[in-house]
């Protein structure tokens, strides 16, 4: 009797588990499959087609789009973009981590307010904010004029239309995307764990390094991806703050789709970028597993 009952129980539990699994996974996955994978399918098919004489798609099969993507010209753009995006991401981390940490130290009711303050500037239009930087930094702009009036400068310095301006613009654009995930990871680290480490004889900096930092790493890695990826794909900042003198992957893809109206080639570039980033993501997942140890929820 008892065995039968425990069998029935086990079945019930398994059915509930399956139901739970479905409830949690199905909505999100279906949504993404329909709205993401089908468009992806279109883009994938486009990569094998040819550009029509006046643009768009011609259903003529070709592999030339792929071979063209290997041209050193595009590899150079990719490498330059990766360099700029990496610098931006590192800076975002250098600034974002202390800021996120600082927020966790605030009294609880102030934390949400501070998060909103960080995010609020981003509720104004990105284009407008970028133009504001031009107002600030151009040779006749506020910063130069101000410094010249103060006697610090005799000649205006050129701050815009160079790679450093692009890094500044991208950093400004994506900093909150670094701060929010790190905050989310840090905020729940049980302070008792840190105190325990200190009680056991660790110095504050050791406690930070051994306890706080490792637990923050998932948030840091996510923040890193959130900053790196859009930095690669942004085409406004290189155009406005870089003066159009350098292009990044985002400009490249945009140019192919919009200017050359070469959708097949643009699709190849877009797909390559996605694959590269997915690779990055898998590496990030690996690092996550290794640093955080085996036993993981």
């Amino acid at each position: 009797m008892k065995d039968l009952e425990s069998n029935k129980e086990r079945d019930a539990i398994q059915r509930r588990a399956l139901l739970s699994r479905l409830i949690f996974l199905v909505p999100g996955v279906t949504y993404i499959v329909v709205l993401m994978l089908i468009p992806l399918g279109f883009i994938f098919v486009y990569t094998f087609l040819s550009r029509g004489t006046y643009g768009g798609i011609e259903t003529v099969f070709t592999l030339s789009n792929y071979t063209r993507a290997l041209d050193p010209l595009y590899l150079k753009v990719l490498l330059d973009s990766i360099l700029i995006a990496t610098i931006t991401t590192l800076l975002a981390f250098a600034i974002g981590f202390p800021v996120a940490y600082a927020i966790t130290k605030l009294p609880a009711h102030r934390q949400n307010l501070m998060l909103v303050l960080i995010v609020l500037p981003f509720w104004t239009n990105f284009l407008i904010r970028t133009y504001a930087w031009i107002v600030l930094l151009n040779t006749q702009g506020f910063l130069n004029q101000g410094l010249m009036k103060l006697g610090v400068l005799s000649q205006p310095i050129s701050l815009l239309y160079k790679p450093s301006a692009v890094v500044l613009g991208l950093l400004y654009a994506y900093l909150p995307l670094m701060i929010l995930p790190i905050y989310s990871a840090l905020v729940r680290i049980d302070p008792a764990m840190r105190e325990a480490a200190v009680d056991l004889g660790a110095s504050p900096s050791e406690a930070f390094r051994q306890v706080t930092l490792p637990l923050a790493i998932p948030g840091v890695l996510i923040g890193g991806i959130f900053v790196f990826v859009p930095s690669l794909g942004n085409f406004i900042v290189p155009e406005l703050l870089g003066g159009g003198k350098m292009i990044m992957v985002g400009n490249l893809i945009r140019d192919q789709f919009l200017k050359a109206r070469d959708w097949p080639f643009g699709s190849v570039l877009a797909l390559s970028m996605v694959l590269m980033l997915l690779l990055l993501f898998f590496i990030q997942a690996r690092i996550n597993k290794r640093i955080l140890g085996v036993n993981h929820a």
Binding site: L37, I38, G41, F42, F44, V45, Y46, L49, R51, G52, T53, Y54, G55, G56, I57, T59, L73, Y74, K76, V77, D80, N138, T139, Q140, S158, L160, Y161, E239, G243, G244, K245, M246, I247, N251, L252, D255, Q256, F257, L258, K259, A260, R261, D262, F265
Partner: protein, 365 residues
């Protein structure tokens, strides 16, 4: 298990997409247009650049014809082209696009041949306006505005060294280095170099374009920036002394600083035109024609001259508005005959990819 299912799904997807993309959308309502159609039953959606036509046009058009007009905006030709060519019905009846893009749309079978019997105001156009290379005879597009490209500069900051040649822009004197901008849009990016080297602005020759590329790369080191939108303001602020500019836009600078002047370099320049086209997917073609006719009205086109400071290919409108403006804005006085000396910009067909490639190469150096 998962992997092979994914593979099958992908293959099915690919097959489906292939079938769908090769089906042409034959959504067009074919057949002649009805001159007596009841326009109050039709609805128009127009896509145009912001502030490029009078704000009260929807209201006035509705009052006159009973048609509801919605205006949607696009910032660049490229954006609206992508929307119109992506397949399906964009919901747009009349689009304002530059001439060479109208040509591309026509080549892809996306726009209507215009029924001139419904556009009597076509008589307002200068005879030269029927001679534009991207659409000779204005078969599928009507020109809305036109002009040319040249060098816009601060005469007071360039005394004694006023530019006369495209090379003055591409290889400026040492005191002007770093104070020059060029247009970023591909066709106009290439223009100064093409003209300086004596080539056609519509050249499809790879050897010629390679030389153009070299010249542009050399010029890049002298540039402040590539700028399509704020170049005349840089002249006003003094950040730049010499910029590549469209004639109409130079007038915006002239309006703010009388020392700014416009010159067409001696090697010659282009002829650009913005046009109106009717989409084949439109279900309101009679209203669309009535709209185009309305726009070609002398007073509406006069508004463009007075407010946008562009030249229009509309004879009565130019005769009405020009006298008041030509003293302050000399380039408004360029006659149609003189404009036609410039090369009309046409679509490059397969060579478009070459131009984009070169633009990419120039920007990576």
């Amino acid at each position: 298990m998962k992997v092979s299912r994914a593979a099958i799904a992908t293959a099915a997807l690919a097959a489906a997409v292939l079938v769908l993309t090769s089906c042409s959308s034959s959504n067009s309502t074919s057949g002649k247009l009805d001159p007596k159609a009841d326009l109050s039953k039709q609805v128009l959606t127009i896509s145009n650049w912001a502030a490029y036509m009078p704000d009260d046009i929807p209201a006035k058009f509705k009052a006159k014809f009973g048609t509801k007009v919605t205006v949607t905006t696009h910032a660049t030709n490229e954006e609206i082209m992508a929307k119109l060519t992506a397949g399906g019905d964009s919901g747009i009846d009349v689009a304002f696009v530059s001439g060479q893009f109208a040509q591309a749309l026509a080549a892809q079978g996306l726009i209507e041949t215009l029924d001139k019997s419904l556009i009597p105001n076509v008589a307002n156009l200068y005879p030269e306006a029927a001679n534009l290379a991207y659409d000779k005879g204005n078969v599928y597009s009507m020109p809305y505005s036109w002009g040319t490209t040249g060098i816009c500069y601060r005469s007071d900051l360039m005394k004694g060294s006023e530019p006369t040649s495209w090379m003055d822009l591409l290889a400026p004197k040492p005191q002007f280095k770093g104070k020059v901008t060029m247009l970023a849009t591909e066709r106009w990016l290439m223009l100064p170099a093409q003209k300086a080297l004596g080539y056609s602005i519509n050249t499809q020759s790879a050897t010629e374009m390679a030389k153009v590329k070299d010249l542009l790369i050399k010029a890049k080191s002298n540039l402040l920036a590539y700028d399509d939108t704020t170049f005349y303001d840089r002249l006003v602020s003094g950040e730049a002394v010499m910029v590549e500019a469209w004639d109409g836009w130079c007038n915006y600078g002239i309006a703010k600083n009388k020392n700014i002047k416009f010159v067409i370099p001696k090697e010659g320049s282009d002829l650009w035109a913005d046009t109106m086209v009717v989409l084949k997917t439109s279900k309101n073609k009679e209203a669309a024609h009535a709209f185009i006719n309305y726009i070609l009205d002398k007073d509406v086109q006069s508004w463009v001259i007075d407010n946008i400071l562009y030249k229009v290919p509309n004879k009565p409108a130019m005769e009405k508005s020009l006298p008041a403006l030509v003293a302050q804005y000399p380039n408004m006085g360029i006659t149609p005959a003189e404009l036609l000396k410039g090369e009309s910009i046409v679509d490059l067909g397969k060579a478009s990819a070459l131009y984009t490639q070169i633009a990419t190469e120039v920007s990576t150096k």
